[in-house]
Symmetry: C2
Subunit: 281 residues, 2 copies
């Protein structure tokens, strides 16, 4: 990452915006954060924050250019916005048909549209994983526990399911235990799906002493990893443990691990494996 | 349905076993019910009941032949059994590897195996829809309410999703609202999925005044309709209404409507459409 221009972090929830801000500074890149209405930008206090609204993209583009920004990165979860039509500026109004159409597609379609809008406005769009080394897992078993052959078979089935779902622009994750699918990620997201498995999955495993199952997460086939790259973190581990699973399988090179030390410590403590599997991204 | 031999109803939950028993009698076919351990056969009191255990299929086949049974029909939901290995008879023991493998596949794989086991023992296996006329919906809008163009678009998306899921032997249903998938049926079944959408779906629709969404149910592509033909009933309508949906889409010719009068009355009262769509089965 050179020092050509300023980087703007479109900041959502979680620790990722802060990680990116710190990585940018380490690399000598000037950085600012964009705080959309109602979202508190989770960046260090001394990082410049530009207030923004989804309805006023024209104003945001002007502010970014004034600040010297030439690159943006989307970081952290942002809720699908409820837009106030009366607040739309001319730029956003012209984009409205595309944005409304994208809001009705899956996450990937929406984020592809957002990337296109920023690129057309002259900004380069980077992926968080391009900025922060070590966010994306290398292939291998990462923690203290390892998958059994039964867990690997469950991972194979979850792989087939998520590949088919991804082609439809549905979610990026699925839970499989003893060959049976206990959960499929839909627009409610990973956390809600794992909580659902925790509540409903116990009676669904044919062999009470058999494999406890895996949660697999991967990018959709062909997904633009600059937007919505799948992530796991300590909370994912807690929810997977709560769902009674044996471990978490992620696509090596295709899923970010937030707060890696805490994530692996939580998995080790809960007896879960974390396996970054090749061939999924 | 002729009077060639006796029909045995492998009876699960719900009103279907009773409906079949009455239809068989109307047609002059002698009938009995098989009651698996822990399941109360829901048939009229004067129907002969043969007690059975999943672990003792050899004994069941003997009992059926002694009773003059040459045809069986599976009717109503049966929970996946927890088998007691110590209780297995010789016939079941010989079948155990196939049954254990089938238990680890989806519902369809399991029921295909059960059908094969009964056929190999010399029994014809019939579908409930072959015995009770009018169980399966003809094409068209069935109740007082009709889908809007937006509902039809949601049905198209749900169709694409269930077709892809069915090819993987996952569930038979999905919920789509405003183009977004709010739920996918997994082994927990339709009721649990609709309850999940009721709990989690409200915030997921981009336009609060837009299409409320549809629940679509269809057989899996290539599914053997003698086993686990998809069904809806009054309870499905109640749960779909609880999930805030606009209506229910079923495959014309491929989904049974239990207690049709009550189902349509419930839909009319709740303002939901019931649409039996062609081209899905």
């Amino acid at each position: 990452m050179g020092a050509a221009g300023k980087l703007a972090i479109l900041a959502g929830d979680g620790t990722l915006p802060s990680d990116i801000a710190q990585a940018a500074r380490t690399a000598g890149t000037p950085v600012c954060a964009v705080d959309f209405a109602g979202v508190r930008a989770a960046v260090p206090d001394d990082v410049e924050v530009i207030a923004a609204r989804f309805e006023r993209l024209g104003a945001l583009f002007d502010d970014l250019r004034t600040a010297g920004v030439d690159r943006v990165v989307m970081a952290g979860a942002l809720a699908r916005p409820a837009l106030d039509p009366a607040a739309l500026d001319a730029t956003t109004l012209a984009l409205a048909p595309r944005i409304m159409a994208a809001l009705k597609s899956g996450d990937d379609g929406l984020l592809r549209a957002v990337i296109a809008v920023f690129e057309e406005a002259g900004f380069a769009v980077l992926g968080a994983h391009e900025l922060v080394p070590g966010l994306v897992a290398e292939e291998g078993v990462l923690g203290a526990h390892a998958p059994t052959p039964a867990d690997r078979a469950d991972a194979d089935r979850a792989d087939a399911i998520t590949a088919a779902l991804g082609a439809l622009d549905l979610g990026q994750g699925a839970v499989v235990a003893q060959g049976l699918c206990l959960g499929v990620e839909t627009v409610q997201g990973t956390d809600a799906m794992l909580d659902w498995v925790a509540r409903t999955g116990a009676a669904c495993r044919p062999d009470a002493k058999g494999a406890r199952g895996v949660f697999l997460k991967r990018p959709k086939p062909g997904q633009d990893l600059r937007a919505d790259m799948p992530v796991i973190g300590p909370d994912t581990v807690r929810r997977a443990a709560g769902a009674g699973l044996a471990g978490i399988v992620i696509a090596a090179g295709g899923v970010m691990i937030l707060d890696r030390a805490a994530t692996l410590a939580a998995a080790d403590a809960a007896g879960l494996f974390i396996w970054a599997r090749g061939g999924l991204a």
